[in-house]
């Protein structure tokens, strides 16, 4: 957490003894205090003789067999497995449940799957040509990701599948032997289904800030109820992580970084694991679509901007109006058919000096082009014309690679359990060089991680003794972030913007050494100079925007640094990661994950995990 972790709160006592919180042992459910929305006040001392801030701060304790962090797309497939066997799950969602992440955008997700695929054995599951743990991937694919066609599953979670032919049969946007795709999946309906389940308890608007890890075992998590500032300690036999990928470090454009992903996704859980000494990999990989940048307020937004994914890459053109599909090199390599290929094609055009100054190209948006785009884009053009008088069809639209998903994930074993923390199962893992979770991977991992978590739970044995001293330390850290007063301080939002500006270029798919070195130097400066000066301008417990920013900034900085340093380390180009100095994919040296750990002083180092 940068240098400020070294600062003493008072008195200069040794940190570990200072925060030691005795008394909580396994099997005890303790309600240490309930914070209302009233201003913070002195509460009963719950920490024995400790005169610490943490010991005076009220917190609630919740005990659950299964804690699920995240309540979206992947989490739904995990929850489904638990509900099938009547197993209770406590779901913690950072957003209002049903309104967070891509899931809560409720835009028309295109679900894709392999038609008729029902694999009985791991050998039958097709490989993916990504660097990832293929053995785990094969295990997740056995008996299909949801045992039946995903659309049947989604329909039973409340969807109507509105894209149909006149005769009422489903209309598939893709219908090939190997891939079938169905548009207009409206995922908010799933939240209606799961919130009605007896087995699902949702704590929403609650941000997980730390994992409780003792002796290599995950015992739950610490959270913050954002509307009241109540600390929530979750004790769990099994914890699953299913929060979304973090893209929030990639530039800033008046209301958002260059991403359609959401501001709540700040890698809170993964960076907590990193602080505990756990490994985080694949932060150099992202997933991109080409999305419009102007008008500025709507840059890269899924719900108000136009764009071209691989379904609609034929209308991309360079600065002279030449279509990308007419570039011989692009046509020869058939780059425009896949998402990573579109990004590679754009890079070819930009490198040839035929792109825009923002590292993008243009999208022909004349009416006959617009009318063939996915409805999710057409409807945005209609909105901006009606409400803002802005007509996309009057000019080609500058489009840039927006990062809609990102890696930065734990390393798991073949049971989807984190290799650094027993009892921590990861839905968001093994995306590898795919650069974040695609819908197929997310469904398979969601289902598989919960199945394995249930098996683990069935043979669970309590730890002999637990101290929970990490809880007190975490509350101390958060209280410090909220209340610290520093001469010449920087507000957290300022530091957040500094991180985002530092990565405005290094977050693009094509990353030169110079761009990466510049970003690295600036991020190091932020770690050494800005973070120690960061302080909130508001110390309220209630929906404190500065406090939330401060907690997130600590995570954003680490995930940004991982992205930049892992990109520098990987001396090759692969999938959507393009390194001009190393244009070839180099399996001999780099067919591996770069698994990073973080030293106390912030230094990052990696080991190669070969696949």
């Amino acid at each position: 957490m940068g240098n400020y972790e070294e600062e003493k709160v008072s008195g200069g006592m040794d940190r570990r003894s200072f925060f030691k919180l005795g008394g909580l042992t396994a099997g005890v459910v303790a309600f240490a205090g309930m914070a209302g929305c009233a201003p913070q006040q002195e509460m009963a001392n719950t920490g024995g003789d400790n005169e610490t801030v943490a010991a005076r701060v009220p917190y609630a304790v919740y005990d659950t067999d299964i804690l699920m962090i995240g309540g979206g797309y992947g989490a739904s497939f995990a929850m489904n497995e638990a509900c099938k066997v009547g197993q209770n799950v406590l779901v913690v969602d950072k957003a209002p449940y049903g309104f967070g992440g891509a899931f809560g955008m409720n835009f028309d997700i295109m679900n894709t799957w392999v038609p008729g695929a029902y694999y009985e054995t791991e050998e039958e599951v097709p490989g993916t040509k990504k660097i990832r743990n293929e053995a785990l991937y094969a295990k997740t694919g056995v008996q299909n990701e949801v045992e039946v066609n995903p659309d049947v599953v989604c329909a039973n979670w409340g969807e109507i599948l509105s894209d149909r032919k006149e005769d009422g049969t489903p209309n598939y946007i893709y219908d090939f032997p190997t891939t079938r795709g169905f548009e207009h999946s409206m995922t908010r309906h799933w939240s209606d289904h799961f919130r009605a389940k007896d087995y699902v308890t949702v704590h929403d608007r609650t941000m997980i800030t730390d994992l409780i890890i003792e002796d290599g075992r995950c015992l739950g998590a610490v959270g913050l109820h954002l509307p009241t500032g109540e600390y929530r300690v979750y004790r769990a036999k099994v914890t699953l992580t299913a929060a979304g990928g973090c893209t929030q470090f990639y530039g800033w454009n008046s209301t958002s970084p260059t991403t359609n992903n959401v501001c709540d996704n700040t890698a809170d859980v993964e960076m907590a694991l990193l602080r505990h000494g756990g490994k985080i990999a694949n932060a150099e990989f992202g997933s991109y679509d080409m999305m419009g940048v102007f008008p500025r307020s709507f840059t890269a937004s899924e719900g108000s901007m136009v764009g071209a994914d691989s379904v609609h890459s034929g209308d991309l053109m360079d600065v002279d109006g030449t279509y990308l599909k007419d570039y011989p090199e692009i046509a020869e390599k058939e780059l425009l058919g896949t998402q990573a290929g579109v990004i590679q094609a754009v890079s070819i055009v930009v490198d040839a000096g035929k792109g825009t100054e923002n590292g993008g190209v243009y999208l022909d948006c004349k009416p006959e082009s617009l009318s063939t785009m996915r409805w999710m884009y057409q409807r945005n053009a209609a909105l901006l014309k009606e409400k803002f008088g802005f007509d996309f069809t009057e000019q080609p639209v500058e489009v840039v690679p927006e990062m809609y998903e990102h890696g930065g994930e734990p390393i798991t074993d073949e049971n989807a359990m984190c290799v650094d923390a027993e009892g921590l199962f990861c839905v968001r893992a093994n995306a590898g060089s795919e650069g974040g979770m695609m819908n197929i991977t997310n469904r398979r991992m969601g289902r598989y991680a919960m199945k394995k978590a249930l098996e683990y739970l069935a043979t669970y044995e309590e730890s002999e003794a637990v101290t929970y001293e990490g809880v007190a330390a975490e509350i101390e850290r958060l209280e410090d972030l909220r209340t610290r007063q520093i001469e010449g301080s920087l507000r957290p939002i300022t530091v957040r913007r500094n991180i985002q500006h530092a990565c405005a270029e290094s977050g693009r798919p094509s990353r030169s050494v110079e761009v990466l070195e510049t970003a690295k130097a600036e991020l190091d400066r932020i770690m050494n100079e800005d973070i120690p000066k960061m302080a909130c301008a508001d110390d309220s417990l209630v929906s404190n925007a500065d406090w939330k920013d401060a907690i997130e900034v600590v995570n954003l900085l680490d995930i940004a640094r991982l992205s930049v340093e892992a990109s520098l380390a990987r001396e090759e180009s692969r999938d959507a990661l393009i390194r001009p100095e190393y244009p070839e994919t180099d399996d001999a040296n780099w067919k591996c994950a770069l698994a990073y750990t973080r030293a106390e002083d912030g230094t990052l180092s990696y080991e190669k995990i070969p696949y």
Partner: protein, 231 residues
């Protein structure tokens, strides 16, 4: 431009109060959300919620100049404006409101009622009669902008409001749903609605044709004899 924002931290303030901020109008297509981000970045911490920036999550619903809007897609001109939390729901802080109760109720209504789960064979058939209405309601953000601005709800708080009524309508039109949604619609205040069309004017999902939907529900209720006798 000048933005007068109603601010309130219930853990610190006795009552809400107004603060006026000078905000540069530096974008031809400026939105209210841009102005709020400016205030938070450059003036002082401001509590407001947003996520998708494209009218899909509905989290930035609030009042601008007395009208319920989604800040992310609301144009703002270079004049004087007031910004207040969304009406009809409790305020948590500044512009953040608590919609959890109403959204939980709406979610209950959206839950499909069926005797048996759908099968692959079921998916091959669908009654396309209400296709346009279903397609439209699918885009409802449940943001509560329409309900906050509904004149019928203002005069009759028993009316569940257009946002919730869309949920009733969705399952009424949904050929896979087997509950009696017509009774639910009438019970929820279908006849309290005055068909004034304010909901459709305020809504940012252009696919939703509210008045046609209300009329179809009325027709179904009338056919069943579920009409309100004139007093």
């Amino acid at each position: 431009m000048k933005l007068t924002i109603k601010r309130y931290d219930p853990s610190k303030d006795n009552a809400p109060y107004d603060v006026t901020y000078e905000v540069p109008h530096d974008d031809e297509y400026m939105t209210l959300l841009q102005a709020l981000v400016y205030v938070h970045e450059n003036e002082e911490p401001l509590a407001f919620d947003f996520s998708c920036r494209g009218r899909m999550c509905g989290r930035c619903a609030m009042m601008m100049d007395g009208k319920p809007v989604l800040a992310c897609v609301e144009p703002i001109d270079d004049g004087n404006h007031t910004v207040e939390p969304l009406e009809g729901v409790p305020v948590i802080k500044d512009l953040i409101v608590d919609k959890s109760q109403v959204q939980a109720r709406i979610a209950e209504t959206y839950k499909r009622v069926r005797v048996a789960p759908l099968t692959e064979a079921d998916l091959q058939e669908y009654n396309m009669e209400h296709e346009a209405e279903l397609f439209g309601i699918n885009y409802c953000a449940r943001c509560q902008v329409c309900t906050a601005g509904c004149p019928a709800r203002a005069t009759n708080p028993e009316y569940i409001g257009p946002s919730h009524m869309l949920a009733v309508a969705f399952r009424h039109f949904d050929a896979y749903d087997q509950a009696d949604r017509v009774v639910e619609a009438v019970q929820g205040g279908l006849w309290d609605c005055t068909m004034c069309g304010t909901c459709t004017t305020l809504c940012n999902q252009l696919e939703i044709d509210h008045l046609t939907i209300w009329q179809k529900l009325r027709d179904a209720a009338t056919e069943r004899g579920l009409i309100v006798e004139e007093a």
